[in-house]
Symmetry: C2
């Protein structure tokens, strides 16, 4: 007899894993033994391809070939090469995606670019429930612009469509809500925005690598996304940005550093933007961090995102099913309909913080989001159905035994 605390057939997770076509991909990751990692949406785990690639870029390229590596190892085109790999994952044709800087910096660039493309008087519409940093960036840009700043409206999510009228020139949204996992219909909202003459900027940080995105087909104008979540590029990996081909001839961005110049090594006076999306580069690319992301992206070789997305939906629905079989203490705040949910499931609980800490002690790593959210994210490339079952089991044990009530779990750490 085992100590099964989850109701339902014990074998179902094992059976699901046995028939999961993505199960072998887990071998591409170096995951700590015994850990169920449900925080790949904060920081993807280490792909096995990374240490070797890093040793090579550090010792052979930087160490042995020194400055000549800009040519000999084509560092100069790394932002484009990595950009094209990401383009492949988001339904973008060539020449529209570049890897550079952080999501925050990239968002500033595309915000300013969209602002200059759009007719005045400009107005940016976003939602109150957007990732706060995206709203901070609009605040920052507007403070710089002073009297010339666009209007900035932040709508409640259920009032978003109502607010999306002809006064709006830029719609700025994050596709997957970082707390609830609720997912916007990217194609539908893009069409709605364009129908009122607005440009759309999507933050795809919680989407890229796990959703079956089709940016070109949806006629998206601009997008940014993260390299260290579902792309597993390592802590603080550079982000990417997408600029639709149709805008590239007329668009400009204010962080016009030399790497975005048409001829960076001519050192000519006067900025002349590079052709295409390269004009969104600013300073020298972070070759070391970007090489880690480049290597991490090999995990996707030969995979179909539709398959990844399908498994993500199944993992989430399975998790909801198991957790709801525990009892009513945890309130589901993610959409129950998998088609409206990103790759995470979140529950509300007044003791969410100590619950997450107790789970971590039990080797189930999820995370807490203030003030009361237990957030469990999953990446179908390495998470199994058995992981989901083990997480639900640990959660039940914590709640049944009151493990989260122990005082050592109550003091919040700096980063939660």
């Amino acid at each position: 007899m085992d100590h099964d605390v989850i109701s339902g057939p014990r074998g179902s997770a094992i059976e699901r894993d046995q028939t999961d076509p993505l199960a072998p991909v887990r071998q591409a990751f170096d995951l700590p033994q015994g850990v169920v990692y449900l925080d790949g949406n904060s920081l993807g785990p280490l792909p096995k391809a990374v240490p070797k690639a890093m040793a090579q870029v550090i010792e052979r390229q930087w160490g042995a070939t020194l400055i000549k590596s800009w040519n000999d190892h084509d560092w100069i085109n790394l932002p484009s090469r990595v950009g094209e790999k990401i383009a492949h994952l988001i339904g973008a044709g060539p020449g529209q995606v570049i890897c550079t800087d952080s999501v925050s910096v990239n968002l500033f660039k595309v915000l300013a670019a969209a602002l200059r493309l759009s007719a005045r008087p400009a107005k940016i519409l976003s939602e109150a429930d957007n990732f706060p940093s995206d709203l901070y960036l609009v605040e920052g840009m507007n403070a710089l612009l002073g009297a010339a700043a666009p209007a900035f409206e932040v709508a409640q999510t259920d009032a978003l469509l109502e607010c999306l009228d002809e006064s709006v020139s830029i719609l700025l949204l994050t596709q997957v809500n970082f707390k609830t996992g609720a997912m916007h219909d990217l194609a539908e909202l893009t069409a709605r925005a364009q129908a009122v003459g607005a440009l759309v900027i999507w933050d795809l940080s919680h989407s890229t690598g796990v959703l079956d995105l089709e940016l070109d087909a949806a006629n998206v104008d601009f997008a940014v996304g993260c390299g260290y979540k579902f792309l597993n590029g390592g802590p603080g990996a550079p982000g990417y940005l997408y600029v639709a081909s149709r805008h590239q001839g007329s668009v400009s961005q204010p962080l016009s550093g030399w790497m975005g110049h048409a001829q960076p090594f001519a050192f000519s006076q006067g900025y002349e933007p590079a052709q295409g999306v390269k004009r969104f580069l600013s300073g020298t690319p972070a070759i070391l961090s970007m090489t880690a992301l480049d290597a991490a992206l090999t995990v996707f070789d030969g995979l179909e995102l539709a398959q990844v997305r399908a498994k993500s939906e199944q993992l989430g629905s399975y998790l909801i099913h198991l957790v709801e079989s525990i009892d009513g203490e945890l309130e589901l705040i993610s959409p129950r309909d998998a088609s409206q949910r990103g790759s995470q499931v979140s529950f509300r609980h007044p003791l969410a913080y100590p619950i997450v800490q107790a789970l971590i002690e039990a080797d189930v790593i999820g995370d807490f989001r203030a003030p009361d959210i237990v957030r469990l994210g999953f990446n179908p490339l390495f998470n199994s159905f058995a992981d989901i079952e083990q997480a639900a089991r640990a959660l039940k044990t914590v709640l049944m035994t009151g493990g989260h009530l122990e005082s050592r779990f109550s003091a919040q750490k700096l980063v939660t």
Copy 2:
């Protein structure tokens, strides 16, 4: 009999190296055998401490400790920790330097910050011979600001003081000219700018780690600098920025991402800047690239920058002496007075490009700067007097044998 083509006593370089107190520091670098590397001002070589630090951050921290490393390995404070190490090298007291983003992005941040601090109507003064990217950034900011943009005057260097009058609100200069190595008097120009009521922004990319900087003593307002030149942080290493304590309470910057928020993990609505220089952070720090820089900075442990500067002056003067003993083909365009020169010596020659290529083939790596400059940089931490002698010897051999006239050296590579 050897093939000595340099006139003068053969032993002098060896003697100088034998009495050089910095000579042992070369052992801290992993330099390719037989190569004379005179391009550390473009990309510093690999410090031996880096590969081990990188393996640790990748395999133990990211791989094994995953998301918990933000707390357990204090990733969250890495930008401040590395910033303080750099502060120590530039004469800055604590709390004024942070490591983040690229020089370009950081320059945009301090430009916008200075602009908001300064009285209107604003005017930025720079020099035509500044590093072009710094001027591109002003162009980019001004294009965004449109009608509200500050005036922007770009003076010839010899007219700079004349143009520095009460109409100027921001003086933007790079201390060491990237082509000629000519060095501005940082303290003098800072005082002159402040005497007319202007703020000063220094780009210290070609200064940091090789000059004996005293930013606090000179009462500098803002500065930015590079992590991959004389700090040896690796290709595209993050840069740093300096904001004088006296401005920190009243200053803001437009790239206001979550990492610069007072409580980044509260995810609260509305941007509230962090105390101090941390408000100049934007997105998630590039932990991998920044760890390489962190490890690289250990090379400076226990060194005095005054000693580094003294050797830099000697290396430069020795190089000029040897090259001028060759013949008159190469025109010195760097200041002959070492006290007015950064850590490089540049010569003009109509065939500069093929000369540099021929030198590289002879394992003397310098670089070419358009249209006709041979640029030889040196870092006293690893370059010896013997390196200088070998470079001069190779240069003489190339010029005497016409090695640079071979056709394979004429086609310019992408990155030069």
